[in-house]
Symmetry: C2
């Protein structure tokens, strides 16, 4: 994907875009699926934007337990700046799930007053605001899911959010394998499997591969 098609440069003409990408010292890199795109063992103010592909932010605790902190779809932003303090007990990494193109920009480059006073600069800041707004929504959804008290409720809450985002006519699809989903819901895999089977047997929903469908009339 061309960087100028990124939401960050929305409503800015291609000419200005190219100029700004240089002006920002933007760095565009490609990663194979399964690569480590970034890790947060030290502070830096780089902002990453997923131009194409999909990545996840993961944490491994001292026992090696994996937690998927966030799923980063196309157009998502990430960076130490948007995340909690780096703890000594955890390792946080951004890992590509598919082949990815990532654009890196220093936050300070974006927020600093541009000497050249280019108009599009403030436009970029506004666009960044919109991206961040989306991020807070995505994080809030995550909290919504994790704050459920039982595995069943976590699962249903998660699936409902996916369902809500699915365009009419399309079949809702989980962006993870069941194993990864358990890391995302922060529960034991086999306990999650048990709940899935229970819901299937109870006729609440159907799940086949990653596609699912609630059987009750949507209220």
């Amino acid at each position: 994907m061309l960087p100028e098609h990124n939401i960050l440069f929305k409503n800015i003409n291609t000419e200005d875009c190219k100029r700004m990408i240089t002006c920002f010292n933007a760095d565009i890199r490609r990663y194979k699926s399964g690569s480590c795109i970034a890790n947060y063992d030290e502070y830096n103010d780089k902002i990453g934007i997923v131009l194409s592909g999909r990545a996840v932010m993961v944490r491994y605790d001292i026992n090696g337990v994996r937690t998927i902190i966030e799923s980063l779809e196309e157009q998502s932003i990430f960076g130490a700046f948007f995340t909690f303090n780096i703890s000594k007990r955890n390792t946080i990494e951004i890992v590509s799930e598919t082949d990815c193109e990532i654009m890196f920009v220093r936050r300070s480059e974006i927020t600093k007053r541009c000497e050249k006073a280019c108009q599009c600069h403030s436009k970029v800041v506004e666009n960044l605001l919109a991206l961040m707004s989306e991020k807070t929504i995505s994080l809030s959804e995550r909290i919504e899911v994790l704050s459920q008290r039982s595995i069943e409720d976590k699962l249903i809450s998660c699936l409902e959010i996916i369902e809500d985002k699915t365009p009419d006519g399309k079949t809702p699809q989980i962006p993870f394998s069941t194993t990864a989903l358990s890391d995302y819901l922060c529960v034991n895999r086999s306990a999650l499997q048990r709940e899935i089977s229970k819901l299937k047997n109870a006729g609440v929903l159907t799940i086949s591969k990653r596609k699912f469908k609630f059987l009750r009339p949507k209220d």
Copy 2:
């Protein structure tokens, strides 16, 4: 607190501030402790900023179980725009914990291009960006806590984050009662109490009222 002292208007002179507050149609309201400041049963694009006092974003599910979604300290922002889709099964409210002053601004007023092209406008957008950045950090911390697999780990993670934020020399303090803390950690109160007692007996930490201290040498 004077609204012009709010972070949103940082680096903007008092004169311009007053002008902008009018320009934005900013609405400043006072609330007694325990009042409902906002509820998200319908969409609106109002942004709320806590000028003084403290509030919480809470959810009550159909069973009346309370979850404290966020603790909103002074200078925090909130709004439906930053939150997940409103579900029919949940009620989300902002409730004041102390007496509060809240400033409401419509998001569209801030992001729209100002006809008068006032310079400070883009400064406000940048400030909003900083506020949102803090918000994403605060939400990420919340996820960090909730993603822990046991009550003990949730508690420790939560306390460590509070400890990290406490200025040197001051005693770290939980912003909640134990009962409210259990709603924040999304666990049963007496189970939480049990874990607190266990940690105290094991000599890991001391807790008296809301003040606490880890006894192990900080690593």
